[in-house]
Symmetry: C2
Subunit: 344 residues, 2 copies
């Protein structure tokens, strides 16, 4: 027996910016679970910027998606059938099942979710990988101290919004950078940033530098880097001695865009030397062992509202490609989700 | 009473590359020491790349030299007259007295040197600031572990030569980058590098990357950065996961030269993210408190020959400007010194 299902596969490798032609929604026959496996019906699919990197056939920290293969992605779903002792039909679980409405996966690669703690899709956002990424960057890469100043780019995104709120809860002066007045208003009004800079209103790195100098009058001690480009160019000259940069993403440069936008290399290096800065890249896969500590600290903050979150929901797996491309252009607002199936 | 003396002052701020017209050798009347002060007769003057930065009127980690003021520099000299309790005529001492053959300085800013330990000019090199810089970079910034691979640029310079030897003594695979076959032969034959790459023979960052890949077959775990430019471009793609870069200098870019040479910014940032690299700038003034630990460890290594050194000596203070410019072009070989006066 099999299940009639649909999925989104990589149909072509992007030449520069990704397009709808690079992704294809198609039917497939989902097999029954084998021994130790589970059949999951997808309810929520997470869309994340890192997925753009998987579409290229370049050396990266993860294997690229092959042509004709299902796009990588994390989902939350309902167990339909199980041949794994830890899962029973009706359970809610999360795993890397990809852009598909049904999947068979080893039970050992799934994590069960308690629907009583928070809405189940938070396992893809504030209480999932983006939240853990933010928490790790703030606490283990930047190692922030209260009273200092943090700048967060993509400040209202799934990662940035958590980073800003965690820093605020620790008593830092927090400055967000986001695209457009609506996001900036959300950053200050809902996420508690002390200030937010609209990068659409900054013509270049020089204008960005002036805006950051204005918003961070004591200089910048920490930069949570999600974008690269002119925001990085604007931050670097405002860094204080012994400042730190956590390199988490560089969405401004993904797909070969805006490569001339950003600081000149000698200027970056000179600032790093004379101001004795530390810059450190990190990938969340090295930090999964921190997940229990993260959940212990942040789940109560979500429950009592100290950490809030916003979702950008697209209905239907067939609309995932357009939603994904829109997110890469900054059209999303908060955690980008696709509702693939109905709640149980 | 005063002493007839000469000094080298900054006569003009360089426009791009520094020239002989920017420095002037001139007579002056050196005053007698006041209370708590010492009159020092210079024997040795150290020339260092950082001095180029002091000639510019730009925000840096140190105050620029003013027009008409004596150039900054560390010297070793003989005490001629003293009104400080810790110093007596005939003592040998080192301090930041500048490019001058006589100077009056507070005794508290001088450090006495024991001429029995090593030749007195080593206080300017292997047992002075360059040695401390190398030791700090290797041990406290890179935090090297045996069995891993280190690349050192300006590998035969005052800092690089010590960094390479310290790493070798700790059991690392060490790869130097230096300018020309003579320096490269010295790097492998005298300094113990496992391999040395002649950067004159590498047309660009791509060629450098291939040469480094060849010399560091297990990849690069640590990079001791003294130069920037095409060497950095060649190193970055060869870094292993969780590698570290200690940013100590960037001589290739000083004076606004070769600004297009080096990695493109997005390429650097991408490597830092996907390989989870750490880059950290450091300035030795933050690390002076480590001097006793450094001296305890490295002085015996110099005494028994485990750490050797080479000097590039120019005779006469009047020749210091030309020697300095030559050093900036890579014409020096080892620690660059000017003999300003006779031994006691």
């Amino acid at each position: 027996m099999t299940t009639e299902a649909t999925r989104v596969v990589l149909s072509a490798r992007p030449q520069g910016a990704a397009t709808l032609d690079d992704l294809r929604h198609e039917p497939f026959e989902c097999p029954d679970p084998g021994d130790g496996q589970v059949l999951l019906r997808t309810i929520w699919l997470s869309l994340d910027p890192y997925m753009r990197g998987r579409m290229d056939d370049a050396k990266s920290y993860a294997t690229p998606v092959g042509l004709g293969e299902v796009m990588t992605g994390q989902t939350v779903g309902e167990v339909i059938a199980s041949r794994h002792k830890d899962f029973a039909p009706g359970d809610i679980a999360t795993g890397m099942t990809g852009w598909t409405d049904h999947a068979v996966i080893d039970g050992g690669e799934l994590r069960k979710i308690d629907p009583e703690v928070a809405p189940i899709q938070t396992a893809l956002g504030v209480l999932g990988m983006p939240g853990l990424t933010a928490w790790t960057g703030v606490n283990h890469i930047l190692r922030v101290e209260s009273g200092k100043t943090l700048v967060v780019s993509a400040a209202t995104g799934a990662v940035g919004s958590v980073a800003g709120q965690l820093a605020k809860a620790k008593g830092l002066h927090s400055v967000g950078v986001a695209g457009g007045p609506e996001k900036c208003a959300f950053a200050t009004d809902e996420l508690g940033y002390d200030a937010c800079i609209d990068h659409h209103a900054q013509a270049d790195g020089k204008a960005m530098a002036a805006a950051i100098a204005d918003a961070a009058s004591d200089g910048v001690d920490y930069y949570f880097e999600n974008v690269g480009g002119k925001t990085l160019a604007g931050v670097i000259g405002n860094m204080n001695d012994h400042g730190a940069i956590a390199i988490c993403g560089m969405i401004a440069w993904y797909g070969g865009k805006n490569l001339d936008e950003g600081p000149q290399m000698p200027m970056l290096w000179r600032n790093m030397l004379t101001r004795k800065l530390r810059a450190e890249g990190f990938i969340i896969y090295d930090h999964w062992h921190r997940f229990p500590d993260f959940l212990n600290e942040v789940a109560p903050m979500v429950a009592d509202g100290r950490v809030s979150y916003r979702e950008s929901v697209t209905e239907g797996l067939e609309n995932a490609p357009a939603a994904f491309l829109d997110m890469l252009q900054g059209g999303n607002f908060g955690k980008t989700l696709v509702r693939v199936g109905a709640d149980p």
